[in-house]
């Protein structure tokens, strides 16, 4: 589904990603861990086509197509979704108008008619219930004045609306209370399907207790330096990253 080969990327001339290799197959859930500043968010942003980053080397294919050639909205239509580490506030743009545009643009891309108003609102209601989001939030402007946890929940709501085939969750668990954590995890689990995959970026084991990843990677200084089964997360939680640095001879 997603094949990343020797991906290098930089921002303002500074190289952050220094040769990432990653292969995500349909139905798999990968977790990426790694110390602050390692490049996890950078990798996510590069995958969804943020214009701030320049890819200097390497390739990414998504369902056999060259991802790096696609405009950001096309990547989205093709099934890629990023739950942002820091979702932005968009004052004045209502959640309803925003979601309606997003859904209808996606439908247009797939040669479908726009969703009728009634059907759209019904879908909003269903998905809102799915992430137990207060209806008050969806009547407001996008993320405007939302608390940290509410923003994260809103990301999962949008994910549920758009039903991506590959979702990248960048620290969606941080800032969440215990209940919210369970809801977010449930949200992800309910979207699990043989043809859907996820990349979950986190610092904590507790999210991984709910979302059982198949594979765990450690991203360090712009590279994936270790890949193993779920037991790796427990080991990291216990020992931190120093032993990995030692293994790398640093």
């Amino acid at each position: 589904m997603l094949v990343i080969k020797d991906l290098h990327a930089s921002i303002n001339g500074k190289e952050i990603l220094k040769g990432i290799n990653l292969n995500v197959k349909p139905g798999e859930v990968h977790a990426i861990m790694g110390p602050n500043g390692a490049g996890k968010s950078t990798m996510s942003n590069v995958l969804v086509g943020h214009p701030k980053y320049v890819v200097t080397k390497g390739s990414v294919t998504f369902n056999g197509k060259n991802l790096l050639d696609m405009a950001p909205e096309v990547r989205s239509h093709e099934g890629l979704f990023l739950s942002f580490q820091y979702p932005v506030e968009i004052p004045g743009v209502s959640m309803v108008n925003f979601m309606r545009s997003a859904i209808n643009e996606q439908r247009k891309y797939h040669n479908l008619e726009p969703l009728a108003a009634g059907k759209f609102l019904k879908l909003m209601r269903e998905k809102r219930a799915f992430v137990e989001m207060d209806s008050k939030l969806s009547n407001r402007a996008v993320n405007e004045g939302f608390s940290g946890g509410e923003k994260k929940r809103n990301e999962i709501f949008q994910m549920a609306m758009l039903e991506p085939t590959l979702a990248i969750l960048d620290e969606t668990d941080s800032g969440l209370d215990i209940d919210a954590l369970r809801i977010v995890a449930d949200g992800v689990n309910k979207l699990k399907a043989p043809d859907r995959s996820a990349i979950v970026i986190t610092h904590y084991q507790r999210l991984l207790d709910y979302i059982k990843p198949d594979i765990i990677h450690v991203l360090y200084d712009g590279r994936i330096v270790k890949t193993a089964g779920p037991e790796l997360a427990l080991e990291l939680e216990e020992k931190g990253y120093d032993w990995i640095k030692e293994e790398l001879g640093e």
Partner: protein, 445 residues
């Protein structure tokens, strides 16, 4: 020969025709107004109030005049299919500044119709009002209007009368040659009365137009007046519009202006609050691209205690458009417990577009609450990217952001159908579908 001299000569040559086709009340102040205009001239560089707008270039054009008050062969009632389907307004037209005849609605002493006609029949009723506010300010461009203006609209609402339907005045410029037109609007809302006035400016042909408009507004105690002004002309139109408002105690005035399409526009709004508890809400939105120029200048005087004023102006500028907002609030020594807020927020979509914004507070009372703020910015790139990640293409995302940006100005409008219509027109404008005025887009569904 300088531009002023041309108009001074024209005035002298045509003085008899001017007066003959107007009425005594409007003729009386002409000569004095012309003398003031002659003395001050067209505002030059260095005139603070006109700092951002030069009128010399647009007045250089050799315009035709309409001193015989002729109406072109053009029936606006037929050529503008505007009826109850639209906004359900009580519709009136000024074509090239001349009132297009309609049976005056005389219900309960309310008069909406030709200013010239009413002034000819009942000059004594308008004498306390006509040109009182305009003359006091001695603005040379308003004096220019007083010297030449021959007709316009009168809205007179007597005591405690509530006019339910919105009164809509459509100004149409329709000519085969370049043309300068003058028009006057006089609004008298007596004590406890209420009305809503919608003004729409349109042009029909690809000529150069200069329109000079003076609106004088008198709002009595406890009276309410809303004025909505929509300009939808074209790149060859220059408009200089003066609005003078006098508010008595506990009166409420809303003035909301939209520049949707224009050439050069100068709106000058002057509000005198002379009775305690008066409240005024001024708001404006401008969308300008190409070489369009929009300048809103406001001056609100808190003369007595307990008055409130609110100002909200938002511009979206693209290409090499120029926007200006200068708002002056004067709180006089006796005007304790005044409340005033001014906000000017602007988007420049392009580094070549220019916005000048200058909120200004002058406070001589000590117990007041006044605030002002101004921002000029670009579209938020992070917000754009966020939307693109959700599948919304950049052009559409920009649209949503621009639309969101101006929507709170539109929300100031207290006529729901008009509010909805303006949301729609604004969206069309942002999408580039309203490249120029296509007749009365406001009315044609």
């Amino acid at each position: 020969m300088n531009i002023e001299q041309q108009y001074i000569d024209l005035f002298e040559e045509q003085y008899d025709a001017l007066c003959h086709n107007s009425t005594e009340l409007m003729n009386a102040p002409r000569k004095e107004a012309m003398a003031h205009f002659e003395k001050q001239g067209i505002p030059k560089k260095g005139v603070e109030r006109y700092r951002y707008t030069r009128l010399d270039d647009v007045l250089k054009v050799d315009y035709g005049v309409n001193m015989q008050c002729l109406l072109p062969k053009f029936n606006p009632y037929k050529e503008f299919e505007c009826d109850a389907k639209g906004l359900g307004t009580d519709l009136h037209f000024l074509v090239n500044g001349v009132y297009y005849d309609k049976k005056p609605s005389d219900a309960e002493g309310v008069y909406v119709g030709s200013l010239k006609k009413f002034a000819a029949e009942h000059p004594e009723r308008l004498r306390p009002y006509y040109n009182r506010l305009a003359a006091a300010q001695k603005d040379s461009m308003a004096e220019f209007n007083t010297a030449f203006v021959q007709d316009g609209l009168l809205l007179f609402v007597p005591r405690n009368t509530k006019v339910e339907d919105t009164i809509q005045l459509i100004n149409i410029l329709h000519s085969n040659v370049d043309m300068i037109i003058f028009r006057r609007i006089l609004v008298v809302i007596e004590q406890g009365a209420e009305a809503k006035l919608l003004l729409c400016d349109h042009v029909t042909q690809q000529q150069r137009y200069f329109s000079s408009q003076v609106i004088e507004v008198f709002v009595g105690e406890n009276a309410h007046l809303d004025i909505y002004d929509l300009e939808e002309t074209h790149n060859l139109t220059a408009r200089v519009n003066h609005v003078y408002v006098e508010q008595e105690g506990n009166s409420n005035v809303v003035i909301n202006g939209t520049t949707l399409h224009n050439g050069l526009t100068r709106n000058d709004i002057y509000v005198d609050m002379i009775g305690q508890g008066a409240n005024v809400e001024l708001s404006g939105m401008a969308i300008a691209d190409k070489e369009q120029h929009v300048d809103n200048h406001t001056f609100v005087r808190h003369k007595v205690p307990n008055c409130t004023s609110h100002e909200l102006f938002k511009y979206v500028l693209d290409d090499v458009a120029v926007g200006a907002y200068s708002g002056r609030v004067l709180v006089e020594r006796d005007a304790q417990k005044s409340y005033s807020e001014q906000s000017s927020k602007n988007l420049c979509l392009n580094s070549k577009a220019h916005m000048y914004t200058q909120p200004q507070l002058e406070i001589y009372a000590d117990d007041v609450k006044c605030s002002h703020g101004a921002t000029v910015g670009q579209l938020d790139e992070d917000a754009l990217f966020y939307m693109m990640q959700r599948g919304i293409p950049k052009t559409e995302a920009r649209m949503l952001l621009m639309f969101a940006f101006v929507s709170d100005v539109i929300d100031q409008i207290r006529i729901p159908s008009l509010q909805e219509r303006l949301h729609h027109l604004t969206e069309q404008r942002f999408r580039g579908e309203l490249d120029q005025c296509a007749g009365c887009a406001l009315c044609q569904k």
